[in-house]
């Protein structure tokens, strides 16, 4: 077994000094990303998010208030003919509204991701679902990305195994870019074994550079975007 100390000492030796016990990280007063998304209003950020995601064939359903979420989600599910759904149970108000909505849908089978249900059964349900519903913590305007924090009732596979990934997102939670979300990670990642940034459907260009969609993950992504930033 290679020994950690020996491994690190070899590096120190090659670098011609002992292993430092403290390092002064360079500090910068400005960043190359400072100018990006500067001066945009929240409405403009939300619009940019929509444009970016749509350009990647992501779908955006705008909803004016949380109260209208049930109707919008049910209609979408009906129109698309979804039969099997797997969903997060998210502690937020939107998460609760989502659960109530799904509970009222008839002829549709919903499995909630849960820390008490059996793992194998959950995986099988996600595998067979045609829609997986999650609640995003943030949206990134620059790239049309949604940010998902996974743990407990917020399983990782819900956004991955079903053929379509459905995301609930508040307009007020859309931030300019990666920068703002990364700045929180130091405090947040210890609580979540997995954080996902998702931008559009699963895609590949491995066969003669021809774009194919849904190679491993969902081939569709739909974001139910609540315009709460306007009120």
């Amino acid at each position: 077994m290679a020994d950690r100390q020996a491994f690190l000492q070899k590096i120190a030796h090659k670098l011609g000094r002992p292993t430092p016990t403290q390092v002064n990280r360079p500090r910068w007063t400005r960043h190359p990303w400072d100018h990006l998304c500067q001066g945009l209003t929240q409405s403009e950020l939300v619009d940019q998010f929509e444009q970016e995601l749509s350009a990647l064939t992501g779908e955006v359903v705008r909803i004016s208030t949380l109260q209208e979420l049930p109707e919008a989600v049910s209609r979408w599910i009906q129109e698309e003919g979804c039969k099997r759904i797997v969903a997060w149970q998210h502690p937020s108000a939107a998460g609760q509204v989502l659960t109530e909505t799904l509970n009222q849908l008839r002829d549709i089978h919903t499995t909630y991701w849960s820390s008490s249900a059996g793992r194998e059964a959950l995986i099988a349900a996600a595998e067979q679902a045609d829609l997986g519903l999650v609640v995003a913590e943030h949206g990134l305007a620059e790239t049309g990305t949604v940010v998902l924090y996974n743990r407990g009732e917020q399983g990782r596979l819900v956004s991955l195994l079903p053929t379509t990934c459905g995301v609930i997102l508040h307009g007020s939670q859309i931030i300019p870019r990666l920068t703002q979300v990364l700045s929180q990670f130091k405090g947040i990642v210890p609580d979540y074994s997995c954080i996902n940034l998702i931008t559009g459907p699963s895609r590949s260009a491995d066969i003669e550079m021809d774009l194919s969609i849904g190679v491993h993950g969902p081939g569709r992504i739909v974001v139910f975007l609540i315009d709460d930033h306007l009120s």
């Binding site: 077994m1 290679a2 950690r4 491994f7 690190l8 000492q9 070899k10 590096i11 090659k14 670098l15 011609g16 292993t19 430092p20 390092v23 360079p26 960043h31 190359p32 990303w33 970016e52 991701w113 849960s114 820390s115 793992r119 995986i123 620059e142 790239t143 990305t145 743990r151 407990g152 009732e153 399983g155 990782r156 596979l157 991955l160 990666l178 990364l182 990670f185 130091k186 210890p190 979540y192 074994s193 997995c194 954080i195 996902n196 940034l197 998702i198 931008t199 699963s202 895609r203 590949s204 260009a205 491995d206 066969i207 003669e208 550079m209 194919s212 849904g214 190679v215 491993h216 993950g217």
Partner: protein
């Protein structure tokens, strides 16, 4: 001769040169990736500032690599993961084999990992009866073809649709239509099954964040997510240089990686993994093992080649390289292809099998110009050549150069390149006064008798282009 390098260099080059499909598809791919990259750069508006920052971060990290690795490893352990430091390929694979045996693993699913390619993991697993399946579509294709990746970003770029359909047909036991969506559907179906049943998932690591002990993976297909979520054991194989100190530092390199690679602003999936699954989690692995691999990387530390460890594996240097375009990835013989491979492989493995690689470049400098972390690739290629000359390894190589020269004479674009090359190529042979007194190849006979002037810094053609017909006249009459 190593496993990854079955044919001599010249034959590999010839194979590449004689494959018209390969040359055409590389040309198209290069053009597409390059355009994407340029557009992405335009949108950023201040690419130079990004490059400068990314270079500074990479430089600082590698200068303090032992410190950050220590910090990273401690944090991984605090999060419930296990860390193993592997000095050699052997140690890395032995650890994995021990683990596979302990878990009584039958199948292993892998998402694209250059390090596992570098350490010949699949073959070693096969030897103990464990099936290893590549899940990245491109990697899956070349695994079926029993070949190596030929591009960092697009590993199966050398395969055409018909070849892929044939490979899949063998697995399916029946004919498959030659269209992309049918082939993709087949692969998805095939691999889903493997994912659901695999005992171990092996991933690479795009970036490891020292301050929290997290692993960051980027992928477009989502196969990295499946690999790290479904199997009960997750093994990360990472080159020891893959560290960034903080999440803020990640911003610079993570923003540059997809933009430099394909021109995307971000890949479909960016996943941050911090330890194995927690008590209340139903998915995610029960165990996370991180194997940190040196395998020759420390050869670069403290030398003029140290900054090759800054590489973020974006493949941008491949996409601008005229030599890569003509000969393709397999000609490089190693896991890492193109300009980065020509520098990295001899450093990782020594000159013995790879002495020709530093010559697989036109020294046009396009690689250096495009590299998002400003690695001076073509300067390193010159330095490697000088080192080879110092080691008196040149004769075989010289013959090769002159053969290339012969090919170049038949192709005007290459000829112009060749003229540019000559001054660099001959530089190592010139003495202080700029005279060649031990010229290579055909020049040898001449220089045995007298000195030969080294080519001027600027060729006539270059001067003509710069100064024009009325050379030197400021009014340009």
């Amino acid at each position: 001769m190593s496993l990854s390098n079955p044919l001599p260099f010249k034959q590999r080059v010839e194979q590449g040169l004689n494959d018209p499909f390969l040359r055409q598809s590389l040309k198209n791919a290069q053009a597409r990736f390059r355009e994407g990259k340029q557009r992405a750069a335009q949108i950023l508006g201040n690419l130079e500032e990004w490059r400068t920052r990314a270079e500074a971060i990479r430089h600082h990290t590698i200068e303090h690599l032992d410190y950050y690795l220590d910090q990273f490893a401690t944090n991984v352990e605090n999060n419930g993961g296990t860390v193993f430091f592997a000095e050699t390929e052997q140690e890395a694979v032995d650890y994995l084999i021990r683990l596979a045996k302990a878990k009584q693993a039958k199948t292993v699913i892998k998402s694209k990992s250059m390090v596992s390619e570098e350490t010949h993991v699949n073959k070693r697993l096969e030897e103990i009866g464990v099936e290893a399946i590549e899940s990245d579509l491109g990697e899956y294709i070349i695994q079926l073809a029993k070949e190596m990746p030929s591009h960092i970003i697009a590993p199966a770029i050398h395969k055409n649709r018909r070849q892929i359909a044939q490979l899949f047909a063998e697995v399916a036991g029946k004919e498959l239509p030659e269209d992309t969506s049918a082939l993709t559907r087949f692969a998805r179906h095939q691999l889903r099954d493997k994912f659901l049943n695999a005992d171990i998932g092996i991933s690479g690591c795009n970036f490891a964040v020292a301050e929290t002990g997290s692993i960051v993976l980027v992928s477009n297909e989502g196969n990295a997510r499946l690999t790290t979520t479904l199997p009960k054991t997750h093994v990360v194989m990472m080159g020891m240089e893959r560290i960034v100190p903080t999440w803020e530092d990640l911003d610079a390199v993570l923003s540059l990686l997809p933009r430099s690679a394909t021109g995307q602003k971000i890949t479909s999936y960016v996943t941050a993994l911090t330890g194995p699954r927690r008590e209340n989690d139903q998915d995610g692995p029960e165990e996370m093992h991180v194997i940190i691999v040196d395998n020759g990387r420390s050869n670069a530390l403290g030398t003029e080649y140290q900054s090759i460890l800054h590489c973020i594996r974006c493949g941008a240097c491949l996409n601008v390289c005229p030599v890569y375009r003509h000969i393709g990835g397999h000609a490089y013989g190693g896991v890492y292809t193109g300009p980065v491979g020509a520098v990295l492989t001899p450093i990782l493995e020594g000159f013995d099998e790879w002495e020709e690689l530093p010559y697989a470049s036109s020294l046009c400098g396009a690689c250096t110009e495009t590299c998002p972390v400003k690695i001076p690739l073509h300067d390193m290629l010159i330095d490697l050549r000088r080192d080879e000359v110092d080691e008196k390894r040149s004769p075989g190589v010289e013959r090769f150069i002159f053969r290339l020269f012969g090919t170049a004479m038949n192709n005007p674009a290459l000829y112009r390149l060749g003229l540019k090359m000559a001054k660099h190529l001959l530089k190592p042979f010139a003495d202080d006064e700029g005279f060649l007194n031990k010229g290579p190849g055909p020049l040898k006979a001449w220089t045995e008798e007298r000195d030969f002037p080294a080519p001027a810094k600027e060729s006539f053609r270059e001067w003509w282009q710069r100064a024009g017909r009325y050379g030197g006249d400021p009014d340009g009459r």
